[in-house]
């Protein structure tokens, strides 16, 4: 009954003082938008962190860091290193009864070049070094033959797994490919760094050639991103043991293997890694447990992830507090506006009281007005948030191309990023703004409500 009347009067008042209303709203919109932005950014970061960790290795791997406890005393600096040899690690993996599949494959060294069966059948390829666990972590499906096993991986046997597309181009069919020998010629680009300044130098290009045996054929699945059409002559990846590339290119062992202070294990069951983790702990303690100074870390990626997202959410909360201050400023602007409004309408308050308005009637009227200002601001703020989110999202490719790291660029382009504010963000920021509106509107509204009728009527 009074609701409509309150709405009518609040609307009239807002329209009457357009400029003042808009300035007040801008204050609140800025506050609301900053809360909205911060909550959204926090969401996006946690999302990306999650996707990045999972995507980078394809599953839940276990980090083993020998010599350092990342959650422990940071001042603890052991005198010596606590390395493990390659043999020790592989023997350990062999002893886990399949709980641990292999160490993780993150070799960054590829061979690019030609494979040929004879003069007529050749194929341009990139040969990528991985470990035996890649079959599982990349979720690839083999149509013929098999993936190389842990031992082939460990000793860098000259074996490869190719795609069904490459198999068809080279051998006519997938079934014909298995067991065949291929010649290849190509080159390996090895990044170089100045040993003193660590500045990148020109890559060293090493020419390589040799024979490899096709062990298996996997089914090529488009990643669905690029609008590619499956064609017979398209270039698809060929996988071989990383160690094989290290051997033919005469490289030092790759970094993950090199130090053996840090090892990334691939567990058989990515959802429950407790058994595997216990095994790794025992393995570590067996060798160095008698040394009092020995510390180590065993943590799976999920745990790492929650450490990261935990840090992100703490930062987000800190930023929300900071942006809430701008909302507070918006609230003070609103309070000021409402105080002016109430003073301007003193006479009107007097008239209304003479006609029988109660204090609560007057209070409700002004509270309604400040709530309306806030609601409109919220709507505009959320709309702007979505609008700018949409603009950013549709120009995401261009924005990502500004990122100075190609790897991160590639990753970002392939992770489905949403910049528009989440429902969560909208609810949080809207609740904040409405609360600010009511809290800061209350004082002016009370001031109006408590006016003495005669004094209000005498107001010039």
């Amino acid at each position: 009954m009074m609701l409509f009347e309150n709405l009518r009067q609040a609307y009239n008042s807002l329209v009457l003082n357009k400029k003042r209303t808009i300035l007040t709203m801008i204050g609140i919109i800025i506050g609301l938008s900053s809360v909205l932005l911060i909550v959204s950014v926090g969401d996006v970061i946690s999302n990306i962190a999650e996707k990045y960790l999972i995507n980078a290795t394809g599953g839940n791997t276990i980090y083993f860091i020998s010599g350092i406890d990342v959650d422990g005393d940071i001042d603890h600096k052991p005198e010596r290193r606590y390395p493990f040899t390659e043999d020790e690690i592989y023997d350990f993996i062999d002893s886990t009864n399949g709980e641990i599949l292999d160490i993780s494959s993150n070799s960054s060294v590829n061979v690019s070049g030609n494979f040929m069966l004879d003069d007529k059948h050749k194929s341009n390829v990139t040969m990528q070094g991985v470990t035996s666990s890649y079959e599982i972590t990349s979720k690839m499906r083999l149509t013929n033959g098999r993936f190389f096993n842990r031992n082939e991986s460990r000793y860098g046997k000259p074996v490869i797994v190719i795609s069904d597309i490459a198999a068809k181009a080279l051998f006519g069919s997938s079934a014909d490919a298995v067991g065949k020998v291929l010649d290849f010629q190509g080159q390996v680009s090895v990044p170089q760094y100045d040993p003193e300044t660590y500045m990148p130098l020109d890559d060293v290009v090493i020419k390589v050639s040799g024979n490899v045996v096709v062990l298996g054929v996997y089914e090529y699945i488009s990643d669905g991103k690029s609008a590619d059409i499956r064609t017979d002559d398209m270039e698809t990846a060929v996988y071989c043991p990383s160690q094989f590339i290290n051997d033919i290119a005469d490289l030092e062992e790759s970094s993950s293997v090199n130090g053996f202070n840090i090892v990334q294990f691939v567990p058989a069951d990515p959802t429950d890694t407790t058994t595997a983790q216990d095994m790794i702990r025992n393995f570590a303690l067996e060798k160095y447990g008698s040394d009092e100074d020995y510390r180590f870390t065993v943590k799976d990626q999920m745990a790492m992830l929650s450490t990261i997202t935990g840090a992100v959410s703490i930062i987000t909360v800190a930023f929300i507090v900071i942006s809430a201050i701008s909302l507070l400023v918006g609230g003070i602007v609103l309070m000021n506006t409402m105080l002016v409004t109430v003073t301007e309408r003193t006479k009107e308050i007097g008239i209304k009281k003479a006609l029988g308005a109660r204090n609560s009637t007057i209070r409700a009227q002004f509270l309604f007005e400040s709530a309306l200002i806030c609601l409109i601001s919220c709507a505009v703020g959320v709309f702007l948030g979505m609008f700018f989110g949409m603009i950013i999202e549709s120009n995401l490719d261009r924005i990502i191309s500004l990122v100075p790291n190609e790897g991160i660029q590639y990753f970002l382009l392939n992770s489905d990023i949403h910049v528009t504010p989440s429902l969560n963000a909208i609810i949080i920021s809207t609740t904040f703004s409405l609360a600010v509106g009511l809290i800061f509107g209350l004082y002016p509204a009370n001031k109006g409500a408590k006016m003495q009728p005669v004094e209000a009527l005498r107001y010039e």
Binding site: N12, K353, G356, N359, L457
Partner: protein
């Protein structure tokens, strides 16, 4: 016509001071005793600054006396809460001001509806009654005009319709013709006569001796005291009993 009418307004020893407790404390009303009976048409006259409006505000429950008792329809309202006073102002008293005091940017119809809205009347009832009242004061065609589109006389007629909205027992008019020319003032005055004939109790402050003479009773005030009262033509229903109903 019976001479026994109930007392609507009964002021006993009303004192009003301003700036209480301060060095410039000011006593504006010096203990007034006034009784107004139901159906009376009373004019209050006096020089400017004599305290007429101050008195009227107390009668209208807009202000509380510093001392003394005010019985309105037999109930002592001088100490009532804000909420109860607003109820009395809403339902029992209708105000007409010199400067009209219509609510700006609000149509004539809405202005008349406002007291009924505060009284909790339904939308339909409100609108019908407001149209009826505007018809009575001759403003039926202008019901959707805002105050800034009306002449002074028209505004005052809307204000009178608004004062009548909840059918109050008492109508208070503080110089209702003060801002109007003689001709328009005449129209307004005629409406008051009409209301009086229909049985309303009316108290009118005026500076015009002619208009005062048209009423039944003239109370003259000077320096916060009643100096003359042409006297009431009716008797109290319950003799001197203040609680008479």
């Amino acid at each position: 016509m019976t001479n026994e009418k109930k007392v609507v307004v009964d002021l006993q020893g009303i004192i009003k001071r301003f700036y209480i407790g301060q060095p410039n404390e000011l006593q504006i009303l010096n203990g007034m005793d006034i009784k107004v009976h139901e159906g009376e048409f009373v004019a209050i006259v006096g020089e400017s600054g004599s305290g007429k409006s101050t008195l009227m505000n107390i009668i209208g429950a807009l202000d509380r006396p510093t001392e003394g008792s005010y019985f309105f329809n037999g109930e002592d309202i001088s100490k009532l809460s804000d909420k109860k006073l607003s109820n009395i102002r809403n339902k029992q008293i209708g105000f007409v001001f010199q400067n009209f005091n219509l609510i700006p940017r609000t149509s004539a119809l809405k202005n008349v509806e406002i007291p009924m809205m505060y009284a909790g009347k339904g939308r339909k009832e409100r609108t019908n009654r407001a149209k009826e009242l505007l018809e009575i004061v001759g403003m039926a065609e202008r019901y959707d005009h805002n105050p800034n589109e009306l002449s002074g006389g028209q505004k005052q007629r809307v204000a009178i319709a608004r004062a009548m909205a909840n059918d109050p027992a008492l109508i208070l008019a503080d110089e209702p013709t003060g801002a109007l020319d003689t001709k328009t003032g005449r129209i307004v005055m005629d409406i008051f006569h009409k209301l009086h004939k229909s049985g309303k109790t009316i108290i009118l402050i005026t500076h015009s001796p002619e208009l005062a003479k048209e009423t039944e009773r003239i109370i003259t005030i000077s320096d916060g005291s009643v100096v003359s009262d042409t006297g009431t033509k009716v008797q109290d229903a319950g003799g001197e009993n203040n609680d008479a109903v």
